[in-house]
Amino acid sequence: MAESVNDSDAESRISFGDYVVLKRGDVFKSVQVENKKKVIFEKQWFFLDNAVGQLFGTRFEIEAGGSLKLKAAKHSGDSLDSKEAGQDNRHILDDGKSQKLTRDDIETLKEQGLKGQEIVQQLIDNSTTFKDKTEFAQEKYIKKKKKNHLRYDTLAQILTLGNIHAGSKILVFETCAGLVLGSVMERMGGFGSVIQMYPGGGPTRAGMESFGFPSHFHETLHEFPLCKVNALLAGTLDLSEKDADGNRRSESSQETSGVSEERSSEPQSMEVSVDPQEEMRRVERERLREQKAQEKKVKMEEKRKKLASAAALLEGRNADGLVIASRFHPCPVLMGLLKFIAPSRPFVVYCQYREPLIECYTKLREQGGAISLRLTDSWLRHYQVLPNRTHPVLLMSGGGGYLLSGTTVAADAAKTRNQQKSEEPVAKRLKLDEISSA
């Protein structure tokens, strides 16, 4: 997907169906623009209808009744605006005065008779800053749902250590509401393929929708259920056409519709109802039953095709990378999915906790097939930068989770030789040898 050099405004205008990011100060939220649909943001209800046709990056006010109104140009010298410009530099631990002023300003404006109106600075931003705001917005969403707390610096490491780039074939297993999946897909740019492994009934991709990918991106996304991995590895995965009951499909549709067909054929042997309206209703019910059976058949076939195409991508065991970020114990997931990865390719495993990754590390050392194993976490420190008032403000450490990264190599038959290449210090290595041979 090439960025056009010609900077056309048309592509920067908001349309119905677009995913946008609402921003007020440091708070962001990702929503979809829908006709006459109420959205809630920062304790306020409003409609986004009046934003359609406007440029991304526009500021709006919320009027009484919830409709949006264009805000006056920002370089008007309004004291509130100039504070906003400096606001990002101030962060949290300021002297408190500027925040108070802002509140006072709002109070003053209220008194001046804006009635139900509140001055709300809102920016609807486009993709120039979409990504990191999506991260922040999703982070808040994820925190609320108490899912994996994935910090954006950890996500940054995952994408880079995994060498995620256009044209590769990447396996992803995540339970981060589609945030990791979406980020991977964005870095693939619609080239190559992504296979999402999923644990239960179906893949969760809610967060991915917010990225607003063009439709052709979705053609590069595949899914494969974990419960069929063993069958695929053993070569026993059945991809032939079957219906839900596992019965072989025949040419006739009678078998596939199963019970519904039997029922519909019953009335023929019964006494014919005299009432014509009753007859009409019966015919209608039959028609609906057949329609449903037909739809089910089509869905099953689609599902089968998807499974087959994902299986085809996997069975070569030559994927270019593996990303795991889930609430599941990473060790079995990693050991299972590594089998699909080609040699000399990176893999990255995220876990909120350290111990499961220590297990993975140990297991990989014993088994071989991976080098350059590293268990890391990153610390992130924000700074307030102001004349004579520069100092750190926020240190985020530990809470971002841990990463285990490494590179695959050709599987090694001779286990003892692999232990000689162990990265552990000599004294400890001896004990490991004793233990594993016991």
């Binding site: 920067s12 979409f130 954006y152 880079t160 060498n163 780039h165 590390y361 420190r381 233990i435």
Partner: protein
């Protein structure tokens, strides 16, 4: 092979990474008839490399063996020949994410330096993006161009040997993102702003010293940049190891409820043949010294004109 696309088989002219062990890797250029010395003996390119699969084990002349790896920007960063101080993967990863780089992005960078960040950017923006990189030092600019060619990425990059503070990036209005790693970034902000697209874009400045950061933030504010944010990211590496901890001896167990139990109720594995006198723990310790300061990263957004 290329730095922006994987391939399976090693070919003549490829740059590969030889892995001899932990923290012992080296890049080599594959040439028919050539030989490379390693600590385990010689590698003959024609027989040992060309035609082999990336990731395979190569036995060297003295009998020892090494792995041969496909190059990636991350491997390149730790193995490239330094002409200047370079940026490491931890910073690079955050820069990439916060500048929102992706396939198709047009990026301006100065200075090119040793090309560590450049290779990462190229990998991320390929196949449809472009990198305009400016290097003040003529020799370094030349060396960078050479490397990009060898790594099969020169179609994605333009190297300019000029002073970014005086002459800018050589283009205007087409960049999605600008990156500055120069001694006086505040002097380049005007050019950075004009390089960015009318509809807006992102900027990042990397500086080791806080005074540089202060002047840069001031310049960004003066030029109308928004969402100015300065941060620092540090990577902590955990040393995974197996340790054996001895257990205390409280004497033989008596019947009374007060008796201290031995550690028989510990769920850890016990060392065989030593009775109950020690326990093995698998753990990870942080290193004695954490990675040092590299630099401060300042990000900002240029809004729509």
């Amino acid at each position: 092979m290329s730095f922006v696309e994987y391939s399976e088989i090693i070919q003549e002219g490829d740059v590969v990474i030889i892995f001899q062990g932990h923290e012992s890797m080296m890049p080599i250029k594959v040439q028919s008839g050539a030989q490379t010395q390693t600590r385990y003996g010689a590698i003959r390119h024609s027989s040992d490399l060309i035609g082999q699969r990336f990731g395979s084990k190569v036995t060297c002349s003295k009998g020892g063996w090494v792995y041969v790896l496909h190059p990636t920007p991350e491997l390149w960063t730790v193995n490239l020949p330094h002409r200047t101080q370079i940026l490491y993967t931890t910073d690079i990863a955050n820069i990439t994410l916060m500048l929102e780089l992706k396939p198709g992005s047009v990026v301006c960078e100065s200075g090119t330096g040793s090309g560590s960040l450049s290779h990462s950017i190229l990998r991320t923006i390929a196949p449809t993006g472009h990198l305009h990189t400016v290097e003040f030092h003529a020799q370094r600019a030349e060396k960078a161009m050479q490397e990009f060619k060898e790594h099969k990425v020169s179609h994605l990059v333009t190297v300019r040997n000029q002073d970014v503070c005086k002459d800018g990036f050589g283009i205007t209005g087409i960049a999605d993102a600008v990156f500055l790693d120069i001694p006086s970034p505040w002097e380049a902000i005007t050019h950075a702003k004009s390089a960015i697209k009318r509809k807006g874009g992102r900027i990042c400045s990397f500086s080791p010293c806080i005074e540089q950061v202060q002047r840069t933030c001031e310049a960004l504010l003066d030029h109308g940049f928004e969402e100015i944010c300065t941060l620092e990211v540090l990577l902590r590496v955990h040393d995974v190891r197996t340790v054996t901890l001895p257990l205390p001896d409280f004497g033989p167990e008596e019947d009374s409820t007060d008796s201290c139990q031995l550690a028989s109720d510990l769920s850890q594995d016990e060392v065989p043949n030593t009775g109950n006198s020690s326990v093995i723990c698998r753990t990870a310790t942080p290193p004695r010294e954490m990675a040092g300061h590299t630099g401060y990263l300042t990000f900002a957004t240029k809004p729509r004109d």
